[in-house]
Amino acid sequence: MKALEVYGLTKNFGGISAVEDLSFSLEEFETLGFIGPNGAGKTTVFNLISGITRPDAGKIIFFNQPIVGLPPYRLAHLGLSRTFQNLRLFNSLKVKEQISAPLLAAKGYGLTSAIFRTGQFETSEKTAQYKTNILLDFFQLTDKKEWPAISLPYGEQRKLELARALAMNPRLMLIDEPGAGMNPREIQDLANTLKKVKEQFRLTLIVIEHQMGLIMNISDRVVVMDFGQKIAEGLPAEVRSNRQVIEAYLGEAAV
């Protein structure tokens, strides 16, 4: 089944064409690499898919369901999840709460249960705790779970961001520049982590990234954007040697 189909996606911001007539699709359990120079429109595409921004034109189909116009929280419930380039953790929450919040949003209890602390409240909260611990464990954050999330070192905050994205048990995950600022060693670890996550949680992934090594490593296919348009698509090796792609990156420290 196709996890995601995008047709003719277009978005303008005050006269500037951020995304123009973009079309691509993605099979379930694929990993799609999404690359292009800065300002190519990649994050805008993520914003369009995740419902944060509304497209001016185009269709987006998520597991056979059209999703344009749906608010982000509904998309989350349908199985769409993402991370943010600049990390958007909830600043006043503890580490464990970053994960339990989406969990409780997915499945919880009602007002009366909350006020009167019924059995359903207890069960829900316990289940959420249990699942939270599993995720914390996976990312080796267990001993810091009571800490304020913003007190974590940057690298661990990124892991937390990833953990949070997994909390809703998504089917498709959009990952925005997970490797930014990492050295080759860390990139290798990240690649392994992403592969492990994908397998264990049975995910379909779209990854925006500048680090070519990472993209080539984990992607099944790659889409290349420049100035809001798709300029190439194909297997990693194909795309890498594509003339247009090389030109687009001319002047950038690419491969």
């Binding site: 911001f13 005050g14 914003n47 944060i52 921004t53 509304r54």
Partner: protein, 296 residues
């Protein structure tokens, strides 16, 4: 034809009130444009203007041509002080703290002035050191007060436009409104221009106070509250942060208020204004001249 004459008269009354609102609204809109702050104390600066003029005329018996510049200087200075003492230290604090502080300043001005045995919480008659002359022009009447309000306001608006669009201070102010960070990186003296904004806005409010005093010669320390809120709504109506928005908004609010009072009921007067506010906020929060805000 009586009705028509009445209508015209109300239009003139509405424009008179609207002119005052416009003058006050300009201060709100400029400060919001530059600082994204709703200066709750602005209405009280207007009040201080009225009282200063009262004082200068009644106690010192100064001629009108001195009262105007002196009052405006006093209020301009007050605006400058308020910014320096109460807002500047909190410039990086959460907006809510600024808001509470603004309210604090507002309350302080009102109650401090009400302490003075000269100025009680009661209403004081505002002196008119000239005769009121009515000009009968065919269908309607217009007084010299109204004529002077229109001409003085127009003149001030003209000066303001020159200031904002033809001087480098105005240019700096507009730059700050657009993008503070970039503007400061490009060498705009942020603090100075912010002070400038407050000074100009406060001077205009002071002018509004004098004109209001002549038009409705009853002043009181709490007189700034309602006009302040209404002028603020006028600024929002026209498009907060946009100069001509404040002017148009002020006129619209002034006209609406007078019309509702004249044709419906004076007690509903204030209510209608807020009703208008809701419509604006629900349909187009950015106001008449505002740009549509894209949801991101």
């Amino acid at each position: 034809m009586d009705l028509f004459a009445y209508l015209l008269e109300q239009i003139v009354n509405g424009l008179q009130l609207g002119a005052v609102y416009a003058l006050i609204a300009l201060g709100y809109t400029m400060v919001y444009g530059v600082l994204r702050l709703i200066n709750f104390a602005h209405g009280d600066v207007f009040m201080v203007g009225a009282f200063t003029a009262y004082y200068l005329i009644s106690k010192w018996h100064l001629p009108i041509y001195l009262v105007f510049p002196l009052t405006m200087t006093v209020t301009a200075f007050l605006g400058f002080l308020i910014e320096k003492i109460a807002y500047k230290p909190l410039r990086n604090a959460p907006k809510i703290s600024l808001l509470i502080t603004a309210v604090g300043v507002s309350l302080f001005l009102e109650y401090f002035l009400s302490l003075n045995s000269l100025l009680t919480p009661n209403y004081i008659g505002f002196p008119r050191p000239f005769d009121v002359i009515s000009y009968h022009l065919g269908l309607f009447t217009i007084t010299n007060i109204q004529l002077s309000i229109f001409s003085i306001t127009s003149l001030s608006l003209g000066v303001l436009y020159l200031l904002i669009y033809k001087t480098k201070y105005g240019q700096a102010m507009r730059a700050l409104s657009h993008d503070r960070e970039t503007a400061s990186l490009m060498g705009v003296p942020v603090d100075g221009i912010i002070s400038f904004t407050f000074i100009v806005g406060a001077a205009l409010a002071g002018l509004g106070g004098i004109l209001y005093g002549f038009a409705y010669p009853q002043i009181n320390v709490f007189m700034g509250i309602m006009p302040g809120i209404k002028s603020f709504i006028a600024a929002v109506l026209g498009g907060i942060g946009i100069i001509h928005g404040a002017v148009l908004g002020g006129l619209i609010i002034g006209l609406s208020e007078v019309f509702v009072s004249a044709f419906l009921s004076s007690t509903l007067r204030d209510g209608v204004i807020f009703f208008v506010l809701f419509i604006v906020l629900l349909l187009k929060p950015s106001g008449i001249f505002g740009k549509k805000i894209d949801k991101v």
